[in-house]
């Protein structure tokens, strides 16, 4: 049911020329995917997809549309080659799946080789009931370091491409009076959003969530503030140059936690070196690296949003 909705949305996105509608459909698509992930027990992924796919991506796409124009030009194109490529890919996928283990099969190789070890030993070894966080931050912590660097790289790339935004008062979405209602609502909500972000940040070891989601939510709070109160206000709170430095700092926090264990004679990123009791060390290490992730994600997403929103439409 959910899947057929997904399909309908995807095909509608393919056909529409109004890019604004396409972007909104893309957001809906992400939300539906998140629901679907929920259904498949992937709560952390659902959380992230809702925050990132439906939230951040959509905002970025809209911000870009403001700059490049909303309508796609009609054009003729020859769909033969793309169709061949797509059909070949599809055929290969279908061929590959015909021997695959059945959906939901508890005896599939994926479920019996490495994963059970995470589930049975993970909580004891890392002290965290949320196995996803445990695997993410400890067992495969190096991937997550890489992921944090990817976020940082994206911020760097956007900064190189669009440059630092100079605070300018132009984006005026209407007179004071026009925005009064949103302003009051937003002012009431923002503290709670930020509070919620902190909750997600520090509660990720027990429930769904973690540094990444928290960073996104924190950035969302700031973006909301920025949208409603105008640019000058937000930029008084926090500026670009500071943001990219905070992003760098987040990566360095993560990296230096690893370096610490390396210096104390353990392998890189072995958090058990952080405290006398290995499990305690793991817990501490995970908290610290999640903090680094949260910091980087928050500052880079805000930075990217700044870069897009400060850009003027050029004639």
């Amino acid at each position: 049911m959910l899947l057929s909705l997904l399909l309908a949305v995807a095909i509608a996105a393919l056909r529409l020329r109004d890019l604004f509608a396409v972007v909104m459909l893309f957001g809906i698509y992400s939300l539906l995917t998140a629901l679907f992930f929920m259904d498949l027990d992937a709560v952390d992924v659902a959380f992230t997809e809702a925050a990132v796919g439906a939230g951040v991506s959509t905002i970025l796409l809209l911000a870009a549309l403001r700059l490049v124009g909303r309508y796609e030009k009609p054009h003729r194109h020859n769909p033969l080659l793309p169709l061949v490529v797509v059909c070949a890919t599809g055929a290969a996928l279908i061929y590959g799946l015909s021997d695959a283990p059945r959906f939901g099969d508890a005896n599939a190789p994926a479920q019996t080789h490495v994963a059970p070890r995470y589930l049975s030993e993970g909580p004891a070894e890392t002290g965290l009931p949320n196995v996803v966080t445990a695997v993410l931050a400890s067992y495969r912590g190096f991937d997550t370091l890489g992921e944090t660097v990817v976020v940082f790289t994206a911020g760097l790339a956007v900064l190189l491409l669009l440059g630092m935004s100079s605070p300018s008062p132009i984006p005026d979405f209407g007179s004071e009076d026009d925005q009064r209602m949103q302003r009051h609502a937003a002012k009431g909500l923002i503290p709670f959003i930020l509070l919620y972000a902190l909750y997600v940040q520090f509660h990720g070891d027990f429930g769904a969530g973690g540094g990444f989601q928290a960073g996104v939510i924190f950035a969302a709070g700031l973006v909301l503030y920025d949208l409603v109160l105008g640019h000058l206000h937000t930029r008084q709170v926090i500026q670009d140059g500071l943001l990219i430095r905070l992003g760098a700092l987040g990566v360095l926090i993560y990296g230096c936690v690893g370096l610490y264990s390396l210096l104390s004679g353990q392998p890189y990123l072995d958090y058990s070196a952080l405290a006398k009791d290995p499990v305690h060390g793991q817990h501490l290490g995970i908290l610290l690296v999640e903090l680094g992730v949260g910091l980087t994600v928050f500052s880079i997403i805000t930075l990217i949003y700044y870069a897009f929103s400060a850009r003027r439409v050029k004639a």
């Binding site: 400890s138 660097v149 990296g255």
Partner: protein, 494 residues
Amino acid sequence: MTWQQHLPALAIILPLLSAPLCMLIGLRRVAWLIGVATNLGGLLISVGLLQQVAGGNVISYELGGWAPPLGIELRVDLLNAFVLLIVSALAFWVFVYARRSVDAEIDSDKQTGFYAGLLLVYAGLAGITLTGDAFNAFVFLEISALSSYAVISMGRDRRALTAAFQYLVMGTIGATFILIGVGFLYMMTGTLNMVDLAQRLPAVSETSTVQAGFAFLSVGIALKLAMFPLHLWLPNAYAFAPSVVSVFLAATATKVAVYLLLRVIFSVFGVEFTFAQMHLEYLLLPLAIIAVISASLVAVFQTNLKRMLAYSSVAQIGYMLMGIGIASAMGVTATLLHLFNHALMKGALFMALGAVVLRVGSVQLHQLAGLGHFMPWTLGAFVVGALSLIGIPLTAGFVSKWYLVSAALDAGWWWLVVVIAIGSLLAVVYVWRVIEVVWFQPPNAALAGKTEAPWSLLLPTWGLALANIYFGVDTSLTTGTAEAAVGALFGVTP
């Protein structure tokens, strides 16, 4: 653990963390210094690693202290220690060269970010080279890819932007294909570790899932390494990127993709599966041959020298794939040697062009008539690199072609030798066009008053040019390492 045992991790995290450090400090000169220091460190580390594995032993580094397949493992053997040496040596050399060229081509307020981006490209490549985990390779692939999109787009020409965009689309499709492939393999084996995969795959190698997984992995990597029909992103990306980026990417990025292909074909799946069962050579060889011939032909008609060299790179990748397609130890040795030697020659050639860009501001052939009289040293280095590219004896290029020809003859494929000869002849043609214009045509009036490139550019350029000659004469280091690495590669596979 002693500090020597930490070298594999340090090789990756040193550049990975120095990039944010550059941004944290935010001064362009400091960033350059950090870059040089980091890359010097990286070079020393890779030499150290090569020494540690020289006897044929394999280092396994368990990140986070979790034994694979539970955690992520870095796995160093001769093959990737050799590739890491290529990448880090070139990275160091490029950074030494970079300062003047970057000052001329990049706005001063963006230089810090630019150096950080270069460091991230290097970190990503080092990560791909050393990791023993399939998904981790994907993550590092994306780090190097995202940062290369950024640094390519810093080119002065607006086409650098479209080239970077095209690369982004193709690169992301490639990475996503790799992700699908890894997913298929995970479905059938339940593991992501490459060694573990190699152990568990033979049992399920008959299933269509594994076969499709292999197909998706190969196509994804082929997109990244610009294998012939999937090479369209490469020429413009190299041609319009800043000079430093052209040098660095041409010398290293595709090499690492070739390494990844070798790893997948020989270590993860094994020769049994890839050649005896899937007959990869029927796909690789024809594509390699078409790549060599067609890309060389296109190169002949280019007027932009950087683009000419970029097409030449596509042809050279064709040679490397040919070596893999022969599927003998000799053939793969030729591929490895060519990885090394091609990095040297393309490095020298692109560095010489970078110096030309600095002085003349263009690499358009008709504007460079008689430039040899004004910049004899720069263009002298260009000639040395070009000779090596053709494969003249006593240059590095000759050694790898010699191995390739021997491998083809061993397999009894004389027609392949003919193809190699035609490719080399075409290389003579496109190189000669340049030499003729810059040395033997009367000087272009617009060039009056142009002077030789500064020492800070000439020295690294000549360093690489001389390396081309050195490794053409004394081949013991390169061939010895390559043969030993390939021996291990074929030895571990049943």
